[in-house]
Symmetry: none
Subunit: 346 residues, 4 copies
């Protein structure tokens, strides 16, 4: 088996993803916007190679990222770098098909099966490790959705299935149907989670963590960059907000109003705390804070250059510093503790 | 069987409650705060008698209302007025037991069974028509809750069970478990719904209406009286807010800040519209608006005097006036249309 | 146990009702229109007594027959005649409640339970042998209906449940739900069946007989008297058509048009065949013909006088004469063989 | 992926088929009698190409159409025209096998599996989107049928299964068994539906639409051409009735008797209304009327020439004109409103 490149986990931390037996690295790499989009060809290979060598063996993509190009670039690189399939965790997402036909979107059995087949073709793989429903499709009965994901698992095209941007009720419905029919339930939710976005991941989903040990694969852990401090003094040239001004318009606009200004003030305070008290950047503190949440399986990093990946991984060194006292202090600074569901007795 | 008082539905409208075959009057009478609480003895009888004679044959109570006194008063009156049991729809709620022992609250099998037994004893009845879980109890497994309500139904102590103030996820979980185990699912949610409180009943629950034909039994249709206009110029003497100043503190305080003042301005505008364009009071318009919602099974009225019940029922005359155009106009005036769940394809 | 009147089956034939183990007499007595309606008091006792002594131990009634009076009269007579409960088969039907309240009709759980309780009270019995759904109620979910009939069976208030005037699809739905939930399915259909009404009982229900061994309890075996020949020359005084002219208006009117005249011609031809070839009346031949059908559990007779019952039972003597050849000849005379469902391969 | 012909939906309307997530065009193309039968070779390609370019991406065939030739021709054309599989919806039907062996017909597990395998071979496809049971087979237990269709779905040879010319009771039985065994239920019925054939699709199936959201794929929307007006003055040369005189004998004969003459008179009246009031042909009005029915997923068109398909699609322009008032007027002209099931309470 010497034809393969060896994977060495280095100081990466691995956790089980949700209730499954699958071990995922606490930091992984995602293809959203960058890979196959703003970054193409050899630079993609450089980024993935750097990540892999730093202990990141999980790569997340979607049929809809850069209209399929993300999967194509990723598939090509995986092949060229001679990585062993067993060393890798590859995840993709089905919903936003690459074309505009009437059955090219959503979660019909037809699109789940055909969409994943085409994803695998682009990735040049026989299977992915986890296939996500990229959104909920309210026009398809949940039973059809649960059955279709089980079908592709039965056919060996994925090991697990998961959700993204589903409501707690929808995830609950999927679990109820899976339990009733003796089928496989989803194992994790790919959701936004960061110090400024906490209600849904920490409150709405909380019962799912407790009952099903539901996991998360987190995106936007830096609040689209806000938590790096780079927007503290406006939008710098070459930043994600500049490159995708239309996509992020709402967020960018919000920075100029009172609410946004308050957030920036908090980032500044957190920066001071991170640098002075913990000896780390606000970026690394913010990433480590998400990684520290019990249900977090992996924090998906985005990167346009290899160095970005390597820099982000310094968050691994911050993790041991997040004692209960430090976590409490962070909570006080950002003051974003979500309102728990009003309840009784617990 | 001439020993019974005849029930005559008059001009009352009856609807099926959720997916069940049970017919409930679109307006019913609730015991919260008043019956057994601020009102006792003969006046309770006067109120119930007036309601019954006006076509209201559904009475809602709870083990926790006035620490059991609501059920006691209601049970006594039902007996004294010689109403036929089959003519009545009696609903009670289990959760907030009348005493303070460790097992006197919540939804353990022990408390559901014991609590309902004690309710029936106070009501002097063999069964209620619908037994509600007055809140969700997160400390009891949902399977225990679903099984316990099925148990009391199997024992003939209730015909149906329902929920109150549960989240959509919780109701979904109960349905999933009931379907898996072949048990009876809850049929309706007793929730707050009025022109100022719409997000939960209209958005959070919307899929439950569509999938399960879930129904509602609505309380606070007048927003604790706000929609009667009586707080337009402060809190009048003898009002619910004055009588229960502690309980309503939060609401009362809110009236003095900007948000509350905006609401009062809307009530004033709605009052003008109701009186000038529809020839009715803002109270009757507000009640009819809730009754008009497709999933509403019944709007539970509260009353301290017989005349209040009779006055409220004038809302029945407003119902036929609620054309799509009028509903649209009301929506514009109050400007409280809730944000729908972001979704695709529907 | 000498306090009881002995039941002697005489020459009565007993058959299992549908798939059940219950033995019913091939002719039974029904209360529709007569008992408690046109006949009251002692004459009711005379009729039931004559029937019982002639081998008829099955009596059929309904909550809706004569607004409850049928059950009251029947219950009184059963008590007075000191019949042993185990000797009797008592059937009633729930749907058309005796009063006009919003929950006094249909098949809601509330009305099935309350309706049967009141029926048992009127009958002065602890249980009936079979409780029928007197009609289908499309406003109540089938699962609620199946569960409610199982509930009253579980409570010991009936041994079996059955249907009346349901479509094959509805009976199929009830069976599907009962099988899925592990509940008791209905065992028989109370339907109209006679030489002039054959499509539904012989074709629509045919698969139900084959798959579930579904049985029938037949009413109107004489086509409202048409097959007795008594309307051959107009409507005689004192006949059912005269007594209930409004109820039977449609049927009466039909006799005057071409279709009705054709039927009367057939009755005349059948009369000649019965008298000349089989030595029996057309009435007895028609009754025996229905009793001969494999799925017929019992043919429900109606009677205003004891002698009518005894006369009808002469059909028992015709039964052995109904050889395949005779059945073929009858089919030729009435020419009403129904069109089978178009199908393949059988 | 530029090797594929692009599909452009044009002004086609897409609807979900029954409860499924599959989007089908409101008009589709069927192979019955024509494709592979009266039309072979290049003309088949011309017809399919014209349809596809006009927005029709759904093609319906059956193993029994032209003894397999329909599937062979269709499969060849699909390949030659380089259509993307995901753009297409291909449906076939199993029952009437292409040969005469004892197991070449019906719905045994053997024939469902073997028949579909041979269909796929003829179509040169890995799977169809929907496989229909072309008739009910009463000689095979329903459980075997439901299991066999689930088996081919599990094997990836179809996404959905459906029925054709089944009774409501049979579809109900299939649903009951599927629910009990946790299997996939059929999603739609391929049935005849037109202004002269309404009882079964509108009444017999109505509960299935309500309970299961059952869909239809309609054939004979023009009543074998009667609703085009072309038989108003006898049978024209080259028409389907002339070409298939034996097959349509019963229909042709019916035109000469009173009932047929009445129908032709109605077609004439409808023609006048269509042309004068709506500015469209009776053909387009009749097609649009079927497409307008809520449960209709697709109306299957038949065509011998490309121009026929294109002409039929003018019905799309009529659809928006079918206001409630126009629908009411059409109902009055044809006077074929079916008798609803007698029922209570709805």
């Amino acid at each position: 088996m010497s034809q393969y490149t060896e994977f060495e986990p280095k100081n990466m931390i691995f956790k089980r993803l949700g209730p499954s037996g699958l071990r995922v690295p606490i930091f992984s790499l995602g293809g959203w916007l960058t890979l196959g989009g703003t970054v193409k060809g050899d630079p993609v290979k450089d980024i993935l190679k750097a990540a892999f060598e730093a202990g990141i063996n999980m790569f997340d993509t979607a049929e809809g990222y850069a209209a399929g190009q993300s999967e194509i670039e990723m598939g090509r690189v995986i092949k060229e770098l001679k990585w062993r399939r067993t060393d890798l965790i590859i995840t993709t997402k089905i919903f936003f098909g690459t074309r505009s036909g009437p059955n090219d979107k959503g979660l019909s059995r037809k699109h789940i099966v055909e969409g994943l087949n085409e994803s695998l073709e682009r990735l040049q793989l026989d299977y992915v490790d986890v296939v996500f429903a990229h959104r909920m499709d309210k026009t398809t009965p949940m039973e059809e959705i649960v059955r279709a994901f089980n079908h592709v698992i039965d056919q060996g095209k994925a090991f697990y299935w998961a959700t993204s941007e589903w409501s707690a009720r929808e995830i609950e419905e999927a679990h109820g149907i899976a339990a009733r029919l003796g089928l496989i339930a989803p194992i994790a939710e790919q959701c936004q989670h960061n110090l400024f976005h906490r209600q849904r991941p920490e409150v709405e989903y909380s019962e799912l963590y407790q009952k099903y040990n539901y996991g998360t694969t987190v995106f936007s852990a830096l609040a689209s960059g806000l938590l790096t401090g780079k927007y503290n003094n406006g939008i710098p040239s070459g930043s994600r907000f500049e490159n995708h001004a239309d996509f992020f318009k709402k967020t960018i606009d919000s920075l100029n109003v009172e609410e946004g200004q308050k957030k920036i003030a908090k980032v500044k305070a957190l920066t001071e705390y991170a640098e002075k008290e913990l000896g780390c950047s606000v970026t690394h503190l913010s990433l480590a804070w998400v990684a520290k949440q019990p249900q977090t399986g992996t924090v998906i990093l985005g990167a346009s250059r290899p160095e970005q990946v390597l820099d982000n991984l310094k968050a691994l060194e911050v993790l041991p510093k997040l004692t209960p006292e430090v976590m409490k202090k962070i909570a006080e600074i950002v003051d974003t503790d979500p309102t728990p569901e009003s309840t009784w007795g617990r």
